[in-house]
Amino acid sequence: MTTTTLEGQVREVLATVPDPEIPVCSIVDLGMVERVAADDDAIEVDLLPTFIGCPAKDIIGQEAERAVREVAAHREVRIRFVLRPAWTTDRITEAGKAALREFGIAPHWDRGSGPVVVPLMKPGSGVRCPYCGSTRTLQESSFGATPCRAQHFCSACRNPFEGFKEK
């Protein structure tokens, strides 16, 4: 009974840990928290890295540990990054998607049809512009300011914007 409550508390504090590169999204919003286990001796948290080379990974691990310590009392805190299952963009929660959009990063699932891979600039990537809502957009490049972002351009409001890279 207490275990369940403690696990719930751990998830609550993890929901306050932001991705430093997308501060509006917590690691829970991004679907990075795979497993939480707690008993009288220890609290274990398994996290999934979004992109393997994400430079924010180490900071996220440290911040998660700091947050969990708040509710850990005498217990040992163990934060691990694991690779199974592979993190995919499907794991981002509805709240996370809304926060991304608000932050100005288009979530790729704002597209009407199925996944389209657009390696070089190509009209009609169809991702919804986070500023004006138009889908008259093109993807300029699959590679952006961080490993997880792509670059788009909105033909309607003439703004460049970023999109989350689909995985």
């Binding site: 393997i52 592979a86 300029e140 490049s141 699959s142 490993p147 890279k165």
Partner: protein, 289 residues
């Protein structure tokens, strides 16, 4: 570096390829033909180095050396990357030719590794492949764009392929101890088997772009394109050793150019790369940044 464990040889082959080509990609930072490509190659390089680190982490208990020690603390002859990865970037044509050859080859070998009986490796490779798909798309898009011309672009791509094709075959030079790895199911298919698949795919791709002559002994297409002075430029005939066309397919028949990378044989290019890449680590061992 002890060679007895086939798993270590395999991991170092994969990781060193990724580290070294990632290092070359990073050299486009600030220099690519336009900003998007500057960012693209920087980002791809960052991904490749992260993949190398992940594989070095798997290698750590086998090698008794940390990922940093493996990446930066070895002597040049201890690196197992294929020679093609260490070649300087040259021009955009060579860069795209090698990027295309490397990433199509990497796609074939990593797909096969998803079936590895070593679950840690299979898991790592699955995650890596979710990112490699973007590299492959990028390489193919640029390959197609340059192949479609204009003449200068196609000519540069052709020269790049002429320089890179032969050595890229050695990406499939078997790591030491492959037989034991096959027996244990750590690798599901032999390097020769993977090379056959890749060569078949490469032949089709090149044929579709009417560039398949780069696999045969040939007079480069540049001979048909006069320079501004009106004179055809002299270029040596290229021969790709170790492959021939049989029944409409390219097959591997023997040794290949650039062989020896998997056993630590590297060229002058590697020495210069290694000196730059490891300079800080050698000056301040154990430095972190």
């Amino acid at each position: 570096m002890p060679d007895e464990d086939g798993r270590l040889s395999l991991l170092l082959s994969l990781a060193d390829d990724e580290l070294i080509i990632g290092h070359r990609h990073s050299e486009w930072t600030g220099w690519a033909p336009h900003l998007e490509e500057d960012i693209a190659f920087s980002s791809i390089g960052q991904d490749e180095m992260a993949h190398a680190r992940l594989l070095y982490e798997l290698a750590e208990p086998l090698a008794g050396r940390t990922p940093d020690e493996l990446a930066l603390g070895r002597q040049p002859k201890e690196y197992r990357n294929a020679v093609i990865c260490e070649r300087p970037n040259g021009d955009w044509g060579y860069t795209i030719a090698r990027h295309y050859l490397y990433d199509t080859a990497d796609d074939v070998r990593t797909r096969a590794l998803e079936a590895s009986s070593w679950s840690d490796l299979a898991d790592a490779v699955k995650v890596i492949r979710l990112e490699e798909t973007y590299h492959l798309d990028h390489a193919r898009a640029w390959f197609t764009r340059l192949a479609q011309g204009p003449v200068t672009a196609r000519d540069r791509l052709t020269r790049g392929l002429e320089q890179a094709v032969a050595e890229s075959l050695a990406l499939f030079e078997a790591p030491a101890g492959e037989e034991a790895l096959l027996a244990d199911g750590v690798v599901a298919r032999s390097s020769e088997d993977l090379l056959a698949e890749w060569l078949g795919q490469l032949g089709s791709d090149l044929e579709a772009a009417s560039l398949d002559y780069v696999l045969a002994a040939h007079a480069p297409v540049g001979d048909l394109v006069p320079t501004s002075s009106g004179e055809a430029e002299e270029r040596p005939t290229l021969e790709v050793p170790g492959i021939e066309r049989r029944d409409g397919r390219w097959v591997h028949t023997g040794a290949f150019a650039g062989e020896g990378g998997r056993r630590g044989r590297h060229g002058e290019d590697f020495q210069a790369l290694w000196e730059e890449m490891t300079a800080l680590y050698r000056q301040v061992p154990g430095a972190s940044w």
